[in-house]
């Protein structure tokens, strides 16, 4: 099984064990987050001040992050199994007190501002470290996202790399029907960003593009990652229901089989 498959399997296992939803949102970014943790983020230790920062601004997809932290060895199996439990630091949205989580998120539209500050701090401190933020397409509904977009472009924060999970869905509707975000690439270009369109399920493409970025003196970078909500589980793909629904036993078994066989 690939690491991405393991991440997806953990997403399913933990969602089933805790009987909670947000499964589709997690599967949407599983390949992106796995790529970050396996091949992109330079983190020798989660407490190293010079580590790259990662902000999961769409905090409701925290299981993809927890699974990655577990596979890195920064989270034990026992800790992972406390997901959504009493007195657990592993809630549905990430908490910074958990080793490996740089910033608490969960309120959409806040992560990019914090990422921007983290990138600005690196510049102030003369550090080469980079800041990565994964945001959802629906987070671009939030005005505060665009405040940060303008600021980062104005200050040419080349060490800031945003990955947009462009799955076309939000909590209770499709983005094109709720609040159109098209054309996404042109919008970010118009705001002064270095824009790359990628397949959000193609790890090597994501990794290659990030490796080619000038993170020293350039514009801030955005990867507009086309993704499929619920990717890899046929009955979840592009279905609004799987933003919130937990799985029945039968659905869980089928989902596991499809992920393992993919």
């Amino acid at each position: 099984m690939t690491l991405a498959q393991e991440v997806k399997q953990i997403i399913l296992e933990q969602s089933k064990r805790a009987n909670v939803g947000h499964i589709g949102s997690n599967l949407s970014i599983a390949d992106i987050v796995t790529s970050l943790y396996t091949s992109i983020l330079q983190i020798s230790d989660p407490d190293d001040p010079e580590r790259d920062r990662f902000i999961l601004s769409k905090g409701h997809a925290s299981l993809a992050l927890y699974a990655s932290l577990y596979l890195k060895g920064w989270l034990t199996k026992e800790e992972l199994n406390t997901y959504c439990g009493e007195d657990s630091l592993l809630g549905v949205h990430p908490e910074h007190k958990l080793k490996g989580v740089d910033f608490s998120t969960g309120s959409l539209g806040q992560g990019l501002s914090m990422a921007t500050g983290a990138a600005l701090a690196a510049r102030y401190q003369g550090s080469q470290r980079r800041v990565f933020a994964v945001i959802s397409d629906a987070e671009c509904n939030e005005g505060s996202t665009w405040e940060a977009v303008m600021f980062a472009a104005h200050h040419k924060l080349a060490n800031l790399i945003v990955i947009i999970d462009l799955n076309g869905q939000q909590a209770i509707g499709y983005t094109e029907q709720v609040l159109s975000l098209s054309p996404m690439s042109e919008r970010w270009k118009a705001f002064g960003w270095d824009v790359h369109e990628v397949d959000g399920h193609n790890s090597s493409q994501i990794i290659n593009i990030v490796e080619g970025l000038n993170t020293v003196d350039d514009l801030p970078h955005v990867l507009i990652a086309k993704t499929t909500f619920g990717k890899g589980v046929s009955f979840m793909e592009r279905q609004i229901k799987w933003h919130y629904y937990p799985m029945s036993d039968e659905e869980y078994q089928q989902a596991l089989n499809e992920i393992r066989g993919s």
């Binding site: 001040p49 501002s113 921007t116 500050g117 701090a121 401190q125 405040e147 303008m150 600021f151």
Partner: protein, 312 residues
């Protein structure tokens, strides 16, 4: 208080490279002592207060010490959830500097009146609130708190001239300042209306009524012990603040009196009405909302006479 803040911060920055200042496009003819001395550590983020708080959170996580500046309402209310989920949740040393509490921007209209900022900020556990009574106290409060490990909200006035008699710039976090001793009534004041409260005490003295004045200049930690000790000796306490009567010093005193079962009547002087959209100077608006010296004087006399009726 603004000038004291900008100058003191500029001096501190000399020996502390962590200090940076962000403004939400405000502070013309106020922040220059810092911005001209440290241009590379000063950023106008534009009219974007939410982003300003988010940026400050990201910078503080990396070990910097960001001071963010705006008018009271825009510093606290617009980005409130960013403050809650940023510096408060992460326990990071972001300093939120709001200028113009109460009706200092009186003629600017209701959008600029800072009437609930202390209430909403003291509501957040771990967010220290500093509301100095004059520019001398602002300077010493700033010196005493700027390097605390957690987040701080400073409510600064625009007035850099008026001084509160007998305060002499004293400040101790989590304590009140007692600037007048009298046995008949307890006046508890917050913020830049305190100079008027001293005049109120003079007016009362002409009537043979001797007032004690306590200045509350910080919350979280609250000056509970000091208030308790003094409240225990009075039958009537008048709280005075250019703030809604809910959330600020009147609320704090009422909470303490109720929780400890003190035999003291609390009369809260502050703004009670919904905004009516009408503008006016600070002194006019004080008069309109029962905060003029004369109105406070009458309120105090009424409270004392009622107390005599009740207690013989």
């Amino acid at each position: 208080m603004r000038a004291a803040f900008a100058q003191t911060l500029a001096d501190l920055a000399e020996n502390d490279s962590r200090i940076v200042m962000l403004t939400g496009d405000l502070g013309y003819m106020a922040l220059e002592p810092f911005s001209q001395r440290w241009p590379e550590r000063f950023i106008n983020v534009g009219v974007a207060e939410q982003n300003m708080v988010g940026i400050a959170t990201g910078m503080a996580e990396a070990g910097l010490l960001p001071f963010i500046y705006s008018i009271v309402t825009f510093a606290t209310l617009r980005p409130y959830e960013f403050i809650r989920n940023g510096p408060v949740l992460h326990k990071l040393p972001v300093r939120i500097v709001g200028v113009g509490g109460g009706y200092e921007y009186g003629t600017a209209g209701p959008t600029h009146h800072g009437l609930e900022d202390v209430g909403v900020t003291r509501l957040q556990p771990g967010l220290t609130v500093v509301a100095p009574a004059d520019h001398q106290q602002a300077r010493s409060a700033f010196q005493a708190t700027w390097n605390l490990p957690g987040p701080i909200y400073y409510r600064l006035g625009k007035d850099d001239k008026t001084t509160v008699p007998h305060l002499n710039g004293s400040f101790k976090l989590g304590h009140t300042q007692n600037i007048r001793q009298g046995k008949d009534v307890l006046l508890i004041s917050m913020g830049n209306i305190t100079a008027d409260v001293v005049v109120l005490a003079d007016l009362l003295a002409l009537e043979g009524i001797e007032a004690t004045i306590l200045v509350v200049s910080s919350f979280n930690p609250d000056p509970t012990d000091d208030l308790l000790a003094t409240l225990a000796g009075f039958k009537v306490a008048i709280t005075i603040e250019a703030h809604y009567i809910t959330g600020g010093v009147g609320s704090l005193v009422s909470e303490i009196v109720a929780e400890h079962g003190l035999n003291c009547r609390v009369v809260r002087c502050g703004i009670r009405n919904s905004p009516d959209g009408l503008t006016g100077s600070q002194s006019y608006l004080y008069q309109k909302h029962g905060l003029s010296k004369q109105a406070l004087f009458e309120t105090t006399l009424r409270a004392l006479s009622k107390d005599r009726e009740v207690n013989g």
